[in-house]
C-alpha cells in the first residue's frame, strides 16, 4: 500500500515542527517526508490542504463496556467511534463484567481489539486496582502489569480506604504503573445526582458537593508525599478546588498528573434544569467558576490531558427519571471538536498545546513511547480540519450509544481521519 499525503501542515510538539509537510507512506511506514514532494501514479493521494497532521491522539479514559455490557458498546463499535473521533489509541476502563482484574480479561480485550480493528485503533486496558473493584483487596497487579495493563483504576468507584490507597501506591510503584483515581469521598455523595450548589437548591435535586472530590485529591496528595515513587493521576477533574490542589502538588514536585473531560469545560450545572438525563454525569457538571478554573488549569499546564470519559448507555437506560438514570455520556466523537471550538478558537491553548494534551502527555502518563514522526517510523497520525464547521448529530455516531448532551451543537474544527500503520480511516 502506497499513500501520498499532500498539502498538510504538520504540527508535532515532540520535534517542535509546525510547517507544511508532504509524506510518502509505504506499507504503513514513513518512506519520505518533506516539502512539496511529488508521487508517481503508484501512490494513492490523500489531499490534506488546509488540514493539520498531528501525532495520533489517545483518549486515556474510555468505557468500552465489553465484556458484559455489549448492549451499550462493544470493543468494535467503541473503536469505530474512536477512529471517527480522531483517536488511534484508547485506554479502556476496567468496570466491565467480569471486570479487568485478571490477566485473562486484559488479554481478551487486547486480542478482541486487534481482531476487530486490525490495528487501526490500539486498545490499552487499564486494570482494576482492587479485586472486583470493591476497594477491599489488591488486584493481582504484577500479573496485570505483565499482561500489558497500562494503568490501575477502580474508576466509577473511588479507592476510598486510605489504608488500601497507600498499599496500591506502594505496590504499583514497583511496576511504574500510574494509579488513576476517581476522586470522590463516598460518604459525602450518597444519593447525589448533580453538583451541590445554587442549581441543586433551585431544582431540588440531591447534590454532590465539590469538596467530596477535593478532599479525596488532597488526601491522596498527602499519601503521595509519603510514597513519592508512586504515580498518581487524577481522573476527570471538575472543581476549582481540585485544580488548585493539583497545582500545589505539582509545585511541590509530587508525581501527579491530571485530566479533564470536554464536558467539564463546556457545560455547567445550569444545563440540568432541562432534567435531560444526558446532563447526569459523575463527577457532575459544576459551576461557571469551576469551568473557568479548569480552563486556566489547562492553560497553565496544571491539567495535562483531555480525556472524554466516554460512557455509553442505551436510550432506554437514560430515558428515565433523573434520579434513576445512570451517570455518563459518550464523548469519543465530540471530544476533538469541542476542544478546538472551546480552547483553540478562544486562544486558551495553541493547536500544538492541544495536541500535547491529546497525544504526547497521555502517552507519557500511561508509559507509551511518544509517536515519532520521522522517516522510517510507523505511521500514527490524526488528521484535523481546524476550520471545518459541523453540527453534532448523534444519529451519525459510530458508537452504539447516543447519550450525548451535544446533539445539534455547532462546532468548529474536526478530526477527519486517522492513520495507524497500514490502516487508515478518512472522511473529509
Amino acid at each position: 500500500m502506497k499513500l501520498f499525503l499532500q498539502g498538510g501542515r504538520l504540527i508535532d510538539p515532540l520535534s517542535g515542527k509546525d510547517e507544511g509537510m508532504d509524506f510518502l507512506i509505504v506499507d504503513g511506514r514513513i518512506e519520505k517526508m518533506g516539502k512539496n514532494l511529488s508521487a508517481n501514479s503508484t501512490y494513492e493521494t490523500i489531499q490534506l490542504r488546509n488540514c493539520i497532521i498531528a501525532p495520533g491522539f489517545i483518549d486515556m479514559h474510555v468505557h468500552l463496556r465489553e465484556p458484559g455490557f455489549e448492549h451499550k458498546e462493544t470493543i468494535a463499535t467503541g473503536c469505530a467511534a474512536a477512529a471517527a473521533g480522531g483517536f488511534t489509541a484508547i485506554c479502556c476502563m476496567p468496570n466491565t463484567n467480569p471486570p479487568i482484574d485478571d490477566e485473562s480479561v486484559v488479554r481478551y480485550v487486547q486480542d478482541t481489539a486487534k481482531k476487530v480493528t486490525k490495528g487501526l485503533v490500539d486498545v490499552y486496558p487499564i486494570a482494576a486496582a482492587t479485586k472486583e473493584r470493591k476497594g477491599e483487596e489488591l488486584a493481582p497487579i504484577a500479573e496485570l502489569a505483565e499482561a500489558g495493563a497500562v494503568a490501575l483504576s477502580d474508576d466509577g468507584s473511588p479507592i476510598a480506604s486510605a489504608e488500601l490507597m497507600r498499599r496500591v501506591f506502594e505496590y504499583s510503584s514497583m511496576f511504574g504503573l500510574p494509579v488513576i483515581q476517581h476522586a470522590e469521598e463516598p460518604t459525602m455523595t450518597k444519593g447525589g445526582v448533580m453538583n451541590e450548589g445554587f442549581q441543586s437548591t433551585r431544582l431540588g435535586l440531591p447534590g454532590i458537593p465539590p469538596i467530596a472530590e477535593e478532599l479525596m485529591v488532597v488526601r491522596d496528595c498527602i499519601l503521595l508525599r509519603y510514597i513519592p515513587k508512586a504515580k498518581y493521576h487524577v481522573a476527570h477533574v471538575s472543581t476549582s478546588g481540585t485544580v488548585e490542589a493539583i497545582r500545589r502538588a505539582k509545585a511541590e514536585k509530587l508525581n501527579i498528573t491530571a485530566e479533564v473531560t470536554p464536558h467539564h469545560f463546556t457545560l455547567t450545572d445550569e444545563a440540568v434544569e432541562s432534567f435531560d438525563t444526558n446532563t447526569k454525569i459523575n463527577p457532575p457538571l459544576r459551576t461557571s467558576d469551576d469551568v473557568a478554573a479548569v480552563k486556566e488549569g489547562l492553560r497553565d499546564g496544571t491539567i495535562d490531558v483531555i480525556a472524554s470519559d466516554h460512557a455509553p448507555h442505551t436510550i432506554d437506560e437514560k430515558d428515565v427519571e433523573y434520579l434513576d438514570a445512570p451517570f455518563g455520556i459518550v464523548g469519543l466523537e465530540t471530544s476533538v471538536g469541542l476542544s478546538i471550538t472551546t480552547l483553540v478558537e478562544t486562544k486558551i491553548l495553541t493547536m500544538a498545546q492541544l495536541i500535547e494534551k491529546l497525544s504526547l502527555n497521555p502517552r507519557r502518563i500511561v508509559g507509551l513511547e511518544p509517536i515519532r514522526i520521522e522517516e522510517g517510523e510507523k505511521t500514527n497520525f490524526t488528521f484535523l480540519d481546524p476550520t471545518k464547521e459541523w453540527t453534532v448529530d448523534v444519529e451519525s455516531f459510530h458508537s452504539k450509544s447516543k447519550n450525548s448532551p451535544y446533539n445539534g451543537w455547532k462546532l468548529k474544527g474536526k478530526a477527519i481521519g486517522v492513520m495507524n500503520g497500514s490502516q487508515y480511516w478518512y472522511k473529509p
Binding site: 451541590e196 450548589g197 445554587f198 441543586s200 437548591t201 433551585r202 431544582l203 431540588g204 435535586l205 440531591p206 447534590g207 432541562s274 432534567f275 432506554d316 430515558d319 428515565v320 427519571e321 433523573y322 434520579l323 434513576d324
Partner: protein
C-alpha cells in the same frame, strides 16, 4: 383568560398575572364549595388520570375531589416507588396514557423533573402534584390563597418557612410564588437542613426562631421526618422540638399575633405544638379547603383553555 403555559409544572418563572388569575378563579370555586350542590360542569367529558408514584393521601384526595366537582372522568393510579420498580419505564407509562386518550395528567413522583419529562412526551396537560424535592405548586398556591384571604394582599407580607428546607418542595414552591407576589420570605431551620446558596432565591436565612419571630406575620411550619435523624442531619426529635419546634411560648414573644400554617400531616408537639395547631391563629384547615378550590381553578384554567 388563559394561563401562559399548557401545564402547571412549577411556580418558578410563573408570572404575577398567572398566579393572580389562578387565585381569583379559586375564589369563585371556593364559593361553589359552600353550596349544597358542589358540582359544576366545565370538565364534563374530559378524562383526568392521577398518577401517584409516591404515597400520598391528602393531595390525591384533594385532586380527585376537585376533578369530580368539575365533572371530569377520573382514573387514579397509586404505586410506591418509581415506575422502574414495576419493570415498566416512565416513558412506557407516558405512551400508555397517550394511547388511552387522556386529557390531563396529575403526577406526583419522588424524582424531580418527572412532570417536565411527561410534558415533553404526552399531548395531555400535565399538572405537577409534587416532584421529588423540587416543586409542589398547588400547595404553594393554596397557601397563598389562604394568606390572601386573611391579609387581602401578599405584597410586603412577611412569611417565614420553618424546618427542613433542604428536603422540601413546599418550601421551594412557596419561595418562588411568594417572591413573585411581593412577599418577604425567610427560612429558619438547623444549618444542616438549609440548602446552600438559598439566599440567592431572595430569602433571608435564620437558625434561631427567636431571631425571626419578632419580625414576621406568618410561620409556615414544615413536617420534620424522623429519617433525617438517621442520615445525621439532626440529633433527635427532642432536640429539634426544643430549638426549632414552633410553640406558643415562642410565638408569644412577638407583639402581634402570628398566623400558623402547616402543609400537613402534622407531627403534633414535634415541629408544631398542638395548642397552636388548633389555636385561633391557625389557618391549617382553611388551607385544606382552599386546596380543593385551588386545584379546581388550575384544572379548570388548563382544561378549558382556548
Amino acid at each position: 383568560m388563559n394561563l401562559q403555559s399548557r401545564h402547571l409544572l412549577g411556580l418558578e418563572g410563573m408570572s404575577k398575572e398567572d398566579i393572580t388569575l389562578i387565585l381569583d378563579t379559586a375564589e369563585s370555586f371556593r364559593e361553589v364549595l359552600e353550596r349544597p350542590i358542589k358540582k359544576v360542569p366545565p370538565l364534563q367529558g374530559k378524562t383526568i388520570v392521577n398518577l401517584f408514584f409516591e404515597n400520598s393521601t391528602r393531595t390525591r384526595i384533594s385532586f380527585e375531589l376537585a376533578e369530580r366537582r368539575l365533572s371530569a372522568d377520573v382514573v387514579s393510579f397509586s404505586s410506591g416507588g418509581s415506575s422502574i420498580s414495576k419493570g415498566e419505564t416512565l416513558k412506557d407509562t407516558a405512551r400508555n396514557i397517550e394511547a388511552m386518550k387522556i386529557d390531563m395528567v396529575v403526577v406526583r413522583h419522588s424524582s424531580a423533573g418527572v412532570p417536565h419529562f411527561l410534558s415533553r412526551v404526552v399531548q395531555a396537560n400535565v399538572i405537577n402534584a409534587g416532584d421529588g424535592l423540587h416543586e409542589h405548586p398547588t400547595q404553594a398556591l393554596l397557601d397563598m390563597m389562604t394568606l390572601r384571604q386573611k391579609y387581602k394582599s401578599l405584597e410586603g407580607l412577611r412569611v417565614c418557612i420553618v424546618g427542613d428546607i433542604l428536603h422540601s418542595r413546599v418550601a421551594r414552591s412557596n419561595i418562588f410564588g411568594l417572591r413573585t407576589m411581593g412577599a418577604e420570605v425567610s427560612v429558619c431551620g438547623p444549618a444542616t437542613l438549609i440548602p446552600r446558596y438559598i439566599e440567592q432565591l431572595g430569602v433571608r436565612v435564620y437558625n434561631r426562631l427567636e431571631d425571626v419571630i419578632p419580625n414576621i406575620d406568618v410561620l409556615n411550619v414544615l413536617r420534620i421526618q424522623l429519617e433525617r435523624q438517621k442520615s445525621g442531619l439532626f440529633p433527635s426529635l427532642r432536640e429539634y422540638h426544643r430549638y426549632f419546634g414552633v410553640t406558643k411560648e415562642k410565638v408569644d414573644k412577638a407583639s402581634h399575633p402570628i398566623t400558623i400554617m402547616h402543609p400537613g400531616p402534622i407531627n403534633r408537639d414535634v415541629e408544631l405544638s398542638a395548642d397552636l395547631a388548633d389555636g385561633p391563629h391557625s389557618v391549617i384547615l382553611e388551607q385544606v379547603t382552599n386546596g380543593v378550590a385551588v386545584r379546581m381553578s388550575v384544572l379548570y384554567l388548563l382544561g378549558t383553555a382556548q
